[in-house]
């Protein structure tokens, strides 16, 4: 299983990938995870890869290799279409964050991104995860709300997700995050 998490540096994609990695380990799989640290964490485009299965060699997912892409932001979803396998699933947070070229007026934020992705025959699941996180009481839990949506569409049992959450989320934030997870899980 090859899952990519894409977003904007600072959105919490790292924690999301670690929860996913822990869940995959809980079902006894070989797991590899590739993270981004450093420069691009400062508001740049960030990608993390999570791969699990019998035996995994490369930690990287390449073009046409992702079974599922979890996008934390619409423009980032649009950027990585070519990484999705034929028949793969796209989970997209409907949040939009203008990149600097758009802020400076040298580029335009593309319109109707979700429709354009769907028009390619790609299965798109859209979700306003920021709203779910706010409902859960902490807007920083947007990442975990999205993990909830992902969990629903995965073959990993809910129980293994719960174990993963408990082992990766700092206790201080656990309550809001568990709530956000539930809201994501029951989305739609």
């Amino acid at each position: 299983m090859n899952i990519m998490i894409v977003g904007v540096g600072g959105q919490g994609t790292l924690l999301a990938s670690r929860i996913l990695g822990a869940a995959a380990q809980n079902i006894g799989m070989d797991v590899k995870l590739s993270e981004v640290h450093g420069m691009s964490q400062r508001g740049g485009s960030v990608v993390t890869y999570v791969r699990y299965g019998e035996k995994i060699a490369s930690p990287i997912i390449e073009e046409g290799g992702a079974d599922l892409i979890l996008a934390f932001e619409q423009l980032e979803a649009y950027r990585y279409i070519s990484y999705l396998k034929e028949g793969g699933t796209y989970i997209v947070n409907t949040q939009k964050t203008d990149p600097m070229p758009v802020i400076c007026g040298t580029a335009k934020y593309p319109e109707e991104i979700l429709e354009k992705i769907a028009a390619k025959g790609i299965d798109v699941i859209a979700c306003d995860a920021l709203a779910l996180a706010k409902e859960a009481g902490n807007q920083k839990a947007t990442n975990v709300a999205l993990i909830g949506v992902l969990a629903k569409h995965s073959t990993i049992e809910k129980e293994d997700w719960m174990k993963a959450l408990n082992s990766t989320v700092p206790p201080k934030f656990l309550e809001a995050n568990l709530k956000a997870f539930e809201l994501g899980y029951n989305h739609e």
């Binding site: 990695g21 070989d30 993270e35 640290h37 400062r42 995994i56 600097m100 400076c104 040298t106």
Partner: protein
């Protein structure tokens, strides 16, 4: 127990299990987490040193005194530490010494793409290269054994994709190794010409002996499959090879220097076509070709950037990648930016407004070079801002210097900016130096440094007083100012560049991600008062964007730092709650 671990965490775990006593490092992506994880084990003393040279010397002293020691750095950090490196090769060790160096192919977070394997060759120090987290831990333990057996430091090379990937690691217990007895041994430890001359042949002999051990050691692996294609590879390239060429035979080198000639010759003779797959320089390839063995490498594979499995399939098997669906239009790039609330933003707003030459440096503030501020003219390496500004003045004259400032962060100033400042004072320069004191080493993810007043473990310690330090080296004009008070900051900059002597401006405001920044609430733009002059857009704040009806603040991104109301001439930016 198996644990999912970052390569860097596994390096720290390996050090722990190997009984390491001292870890001294300077941060740098992608190596930083090695030392952060090391500091979580109470059995190992860990510290942030002011720079890599000091770190490697500290670790060297520890090894000479009999305690196993580690220093970790990014590739360019090894340039800074190259001086002790080359001579520690001659001195050797008492207890083991392992120097971890993390290269960054693809330059995710670096200013160049140097290949540190060349240092192993040049300094005559063995180098190991793990391919996943499990090997990170195992190789560390092996490295300490080899270090003590062959009386040499060992280099442990990582690349970003190994350092920052997680995979499963089997945890074992720490083996407590008592501090070895120390003996005063002048010919061994004092590298004056007479003793160094005795040492050099020993270094050559040790490398020879290591090359022989490498021919049978289990860190070098032969995986025989088909005989059509043979691949010689190491590190992360091995993983890409496994993905792309599952039928090929592989010689996977765990030690990339010195090379096991006989093993390589045997392997190459068993396959019809032999390739070397390695990112960056043709390091292995050149050595293997020099042995008179025919291999294919950089003739078909690139010298720059990261490799992928698809690339290998294409270049070696001739299987072109499939065309995938993509976006219908150009997707705007998303470069990194200074965070909302970044303390550096006020500085660059003013420098941009004044149109000064900015001799820049490396840190979060390097982002001041990007749109819309464009307020940095050059970046060379850590600490170079001050010395380069000094050189500019000596070449282009006093009038040029009156339009020039050097800009660098607190950690960078301590790392190697201070020596440049001494140069300016000593050699009668008049540079204006702005130290961006945000109370933390920001770019690498918030490490303490000598100017923050805390150690790696968060314990309070003596804090370098930047004002006194500047005064002590002979700077009479030192001003501390809040960069968010843009009017005052502008005034100070103008005064200091006009002064006919060196000056230091300390722009003091904590990083917005620190608790002590204490920002609460958000701001909004009152459309009734906004005249759409767009001056707030000049700040390059990611939380402010332009719409048809003028600028608006994105409340999810705004941290309430209060800089934008300071530049608005119409009082249109108001605090919300």
């Amino acid at each position: 127990m198996k644990k999912l671990m970052l390569g860097n965490e596994a390096i720290a775990r390996g050090a722990y299990e190997a009984g390491v006593r001292v870890v001294s490092s300077y941060p740098g992506t992608p190596s930083t987490e090695i030392t952060e994880f090391a500091s979580k084990y109470d059995e190992m003393y860990s510290e942030w040193a002011p720079n890599e040279k000091v770190a490697v010397e500290t670790a060297s002293g520890a090894a000479i005194a009999g305690g196993r020691a580690v220093s970790a750095m990014k590739h360019v950090g090894l340039n800074v530490a190259a001086d002790p490196l080359f001579t520690m090769s001659y001195i050797g060790v008492n207890a083991g010494l392992v120097l971890c160096v993390a290269d960054d192919p693809g330059m995710h977070s670096s200013q160049n793409e140097q290949d540190s394997r060349n240092y192993a060759l040049a300094s005559k120090i063995p180098m190991m290269e793990p391919a996943d987290s499990s090997e990170c831990k195992d190789f560390m333990k092996k490295a300490f054994e080899l270090s003590e057996k062959y009386d040499t430091p060992i280099l442990m090379r990582l690349t970003t994709r190994v350092a920052h990937s997680q995979s499963l690691v089997e945890l074992e217990d720490r083996v407590e190794i008592p501090v070895k007895p120390y003996e005063k041994d002048i010919p061994k430890h004092v590298m004056v010409p007479a003793f160094a001359k005795q040492k050099h042949p020993k270094v050559e002999a040790r490398m020879q002996a290591l090359a022989e051990e490498a021919a049978t050691a289990d860190f070098n692996k032969v995986i025989m499959r088909g005989t059509d294609i043979g691949i010689i590879t190491a590190g992360i390239s091995y993983q890409y090879t496994e993905e792309a060429l599952p039928d090929a035979s592989i010689l996977k080198l765990g030690m990339v220097w010195p090379l096991p000639e006989k093993l390589i010759r045997d392997f190459a003779s068993k396959v019809k076509k032999c390739y070397v797959i390695e990112e960056l320089d043709p390091f292995l390839e050149k050595q293997i070709k020099a042995m008179g063995i025919e291999v294919i490498g950089k003739d078909i594979l690139p010298l720059e950037g990261e490799y992928t499995a698809a690339m290998l399939k294409d270049k070696i098997l001739g299987i072109a990648p499939k065309e995938m669906a993509s976006a219908d239009e150009p997707v705007p790039v998303r470069p990194p930016v200074m965070c909302p609330g970044c303390s550096h933003r006020g500085v660059f707003y003013v420098l941009s407004k004044l149109g000064l030459h900015v001799s820049g440096d490396i840190g979060c503030y390097s982002l001041g070079s990007a749109a819309p501020l464009f307020a940095m003219d050059s970046i060379i390496c850590m600490g170079a801002s001050i010395s380069a500004a000094h050189g500019m003045e000596k070449a282009a004259g006093r009038d040029f210097a009156k339009k020039t400032v050097a800009v660098l962060g607190d950690s960078t100033f301590i790392h190697s900016g201070i020596t440049g400042l001494i140069d300016v004072v000593y050699n009668k320069g008049t540079s204006t130096v702005i130290i961006l004191d945000n109370s933390i080493t920001g770019m690498t993810g918030h490490q303490q440094n000598p100017s923050t007043g805390f150690t790696i473990k968060g314990e309070p310690t003596r804090q370098v007083d930047l004002v006194k330090l500047a005064e002590a080296v002979g700077v009479d004009r030192v001003t501390v100012v809040d960069p968010f008070d843009v009017e005052k900051f502008e005034k100070v900059v103008k005064e200091e560049i006009a002064a006919d002597e060196p000056s230091v401006i300390i722009a003091q405001r904590p990083c917005a991600l620190l608790k002590k920044a204490g920002y609460t609430g958000t701001y909004r733009i009152n459309p009734e008062k906004c005249k759409n002059c767009k001056i707030c857009m000049k700040l390059g704040c990611p939380a402010i964007s332009i719409t048809e009806n003028g600028p608006v603040i994105n409340e999810t991104l705004c941290v309430g730092c209060g800089l934008c109301p300071n530049v608005c001439k119409f009082g249109a930016i108001e605090k919300v709650n």
